[in-house]
């Protein structure tokens, strides 16, 4: 589905991302973890053609993303608040995204129906513009909007941050469903090791822009990641 080759991004000769090869097959739930500045958001931005690669390229379904725009109809994302239109109500925003993705009002309404649990009565019919919603509620709107129009690739940057525990659990269910039952390729980044290991079939660890680990998730993965990020021998000795 997604093929990365020879990709690098440099700012003033400072390398922020350097990925030789990476293949993400269709229907995989893919997790990206790494400390601040590891290059997670940079990678997602490159995938969405929001920044230009210094070298190499990303192909999405054989379409090179920085050459053609044909990947847009089957790709959706929620990176940050710059994906929200602050002066719209949540409903208006969903309909707007729906229209851009060829869905009419009824389609969108039907989809939203399935998320009333997720919204917890705090999103729809609240007489508030998106700019006046809390950070967590904004995130809920952004994530659900990314599901409109049955995209084949969904990219979510830090989807669990700012969400309350109930919503986190529901979101995990939603993401699992997407990959397992609908064959959607889901790319998720997170700082929360527990969440990613629960949700993702495969986890890639970025460190200073490089892939340092590429793990198929198993029962031992969480431990492995914790050890990796704790970083010291002493810690390992203590815990083993």
């Amino acid at each position: 589905m997604i093929t990365v080759s020879n990709l690098s991004k440099k700012y003033n000769a400072d390398p922020v991302l350097q990925i030789e090869t990476l293949d993400i097959p269709k229907g995989q739930s893919f997790g990206l973890v790494g400390n601040n500045g590891a290059g997670k958001t940079t990678f997602f931005s490159l995938l969405l053609d929001l920044i230009q690669p210094t070298t190499g390229h990303i192909k999405s379904k054989d379409i090179q993303v920085d050459n053609s725009e044909d990947w847009k109809p089957f790709t959706s994302a929620y990176i940050d608040e710059s994906f929200l239109i602050g002066y719209l109500t949540p409903e208006e925003y969903f309909y707007f995204i729906g229209e851009l993705r060829g869905q009419n009002k009824a389609d969108v309404d039907a989809l939203l129906q399935g998320f009333s649990d997720f919204f917890h009565g705090e999103i729809l019919n609240q007489k508030k513009y998106l700019r006046d919603l809390s950070k967590g509620n904004q995130k809920k709107v952004g994530i659900v909007a990314a599901l409109i129009g049955s995209p084949e690739i969904i990219i979510l940057d830090e989807p669990f941050a700012n969400l309350d525990p109930t919503t986190q659990i529901r979101l995990k269910q939603i993401i699992k469903n997407l990959a397992e039952q609908q064959g959607v390729t889901v790319l998720v980044s997170s700082h929360d090791l527990m969440h990613v290991t629960e949700v993702c079939e495969r986890i890639v660890v970025l460190e200073k822009g490089q892939i340092v680990k590429d793990i198929v998730t198993s029962a031992a993965t969480l431990k492995e990641l914790e050890v990796h990020f704790a970083g010291t021998e002493a810690f390992q000795a203590e815990h083993l």
Partner: protein, 490 residues
């Protein structure tokens, strides 16, 4: 304590986003600031003689008459441009600083703002001239102090009416009615206010009243802020009550309606864009300067076209030049969606065309000054729709200033709006139609001149698709630069 406050202020000033530009713009800004102070100084020194020589009237009388309008306009400018002091004090609340100190700092800060200093450049020289011309010094000084007091009153009134749109628009509406009544010589409010202002001169003790009033307002502002210095009171941002609107009547525009609906919501729900709408209404009256012969320099026949273009195109210019910056806050969203550029542009284009037509209809009152005046507006509109609508969109494609929709500041243009490319585009926007008109006017007469401009304008419509293709190309080639520039928020 004060030392820290001052150093904080200084840093926030020199590190503000508007200073982070290149040297050229810094120099331009300094020149601009000097120019404004300079012209105020010149006006202050020169006003006396200009009124005496030019209008053959008693300068002091005239100034006192005009003062009421001056004060109201000052308030209007403050309302739109002066920043409220509450913004930067949130981080101070968590620190061990007395609340009184914070509030005094915040309120006091407004007093030394540019909006108060500017008046001194006008009134100090004027007062000096008055004294030189033989007015008794003591009385002139009390008169000046009274004005100073009133300026500060305005300063505090602005704090109280901040964000209360209804109050503001009522005041502005009243003023326009008053000016109209005065122009038509029905009722002259200055007959009542001029003696009031003159009293500060005639009876020096009266000057104490505005000064005391300003002091009382200060105390009121102080208590008001102190009482509201809580995150959920005065410091909370106001939330508008939102209503989901479908605008289904726009569906007749087909796929275009997606963007059209959004753009109309953008215009109606944001402070900055509302300001643009307000400015476009002001532009409708801009022609009065030309057609009433109020300004001698504008008497040449081709100036009519200049006026006509601005009267009908106020919205077109103020809105159009910032496409696509209006969508800067969510540009990454737009760029990762399957946006059809043509429809995106067309929506903005239709908005500009509608606004131009509405402005043209509204300005039918120019017929009062002869058919030529209105003809200039109508052909100006034709030129705006046919040619300028494309040119502003083209210019906008090169402007990469992010727009903060939630504040009305900077609506008067941005330094980056004046780059070389957009400057170059003003030639076909304004000078070309004037030249075309002049060519017609001086050969076969004014009717031919008007017709020529209109024909040129309508011919521009033929190029619409070509221009849109060109703009789309620019959007695509500048995409990454634009995204990066919009990310740098203030």
């Amino acid at each position: 304590m004060l030392k820290y406050f001052i150093s904080l202020e200084w840093k926030s000033f020199i590190r503000s986003a508007s200073f982070k530009t290149n040297l050229f713009f810094k120099i331009m800004m300094v020149i601009g600031a000097l120019w404004i102070t300079g012209s105020f100084l010149l006006l202050g020194f020169g006003a006396y003689f200009m009124i005496e020589e030019g209008l053959k009237m008693e300068p002091f009388e005239v100034v006192n008459q005009a003062l009421i309008y001056y004060m109201v306009f000052d308030l209007a400018f403050r309302y739109f441009l002066q920043k409220m002091p509450v913004m930067n004090i949130k981080p101070l609340m968590y620190l061990p600083i007395k609340r009184d100190a914070i509030v005094n700092f915040a309120v006091g800060k407004t007093m030394i703002s540019f909006f108060n200093l500017l008046h001194a450049f006008l009134f100090v020289p004027f007062s000096i001239v008055l004294i030189i011309e033989g007015f008794p010094a003591m009385q002139v000084i009390t008169w000046y102090l009274a004005i100073l007091g009133l300026v500060f009153c305005n300063n505090f009134i602005n704090i109280f009416i901040n964000n209360k749109d209804i109050v503001f628009y009522t005041v502005v509406g009243m003023v326009i009615i008053m000016m109209g009544l005065q122009y038509l010589e029905v009722f002259d409010i200055t007959n009542f206010t001029a003696p009031l202002f003159k009293a500060f001169y005639a009876i020096p003790y009266l000057a104490l009243i505005p000064l005391i009033l300003a002091f009382v307002f200060y105390k009121m502002a102080f208590t008001y802020f102190k009482k509201n210095l809580y995150l959920d009171a005065g410091l909370s941002s106001k939330h508008d009550v939102a209503k989901t609107e479908n605008y289904s009547w726009l569906d007749r525009f087909g796929s275009l309606s997606t963007f059209l609906k959004n753009d109309i919501k953008l215009l109606r729900r944001n402070k900055r864009s509302k300001m643009t709408l307000f400015m476009s209404v002001i532009f409708i009256f801009y022609g009065l300067l030309f057609f009433t012969n109020a300004v001698e320099a504008y008497d040449g026949p081709f100036w009519r076209i200049f006026a006509g273009i601005f009267v009908s195109g106020g919205f077109l210019f103020t809105f159009g030049q910032f496409v696509p910056s209006w969508d800067s806050a969510y540009y990454p969203l737009m760029m990762s969606q399957n946006i059809r550029y043509k429809e995106y542009l067309e929506s903005k284009w239709y908005l500009m065309v509608f606004a131009t037509i509405i402005s043209t209809v509204v300005s039918a009152f120019y017929l009062y000054w002869g058919w030529q005046a209105y003809a200039a507006v109508v052909v100006g509109a034709a030129y705006n729709i046919g040619v300028n609508s494309h040119l502003v969109l083209l210019g906008g494609a090169y402007i990469k200033t992010p727009i903060d929709l939630t504040t009305s500041k900077k609506a008067f243009g941005d330094k980056q709006a004046f780059n070389a490319k957009t400057m170059l585009l003003t030639i076909p926007k304004l000078l070309l139609p004037m030249a075309i008109y002049a060519a017609g006017h001086f050969t076969l007469g004014e009717v031919f001149g008007f017709a020529l401009v209109a024909v040129f304008g309508l011919a521009g419509l033929l190029f619409k698709n070509r221009v849109f293709k060109l703009i789309e190309k620019i959007y695509k080639s500048e995409k990454y630069k634009t995204l990066a520039a919009y990310k740098q928020n203030n």
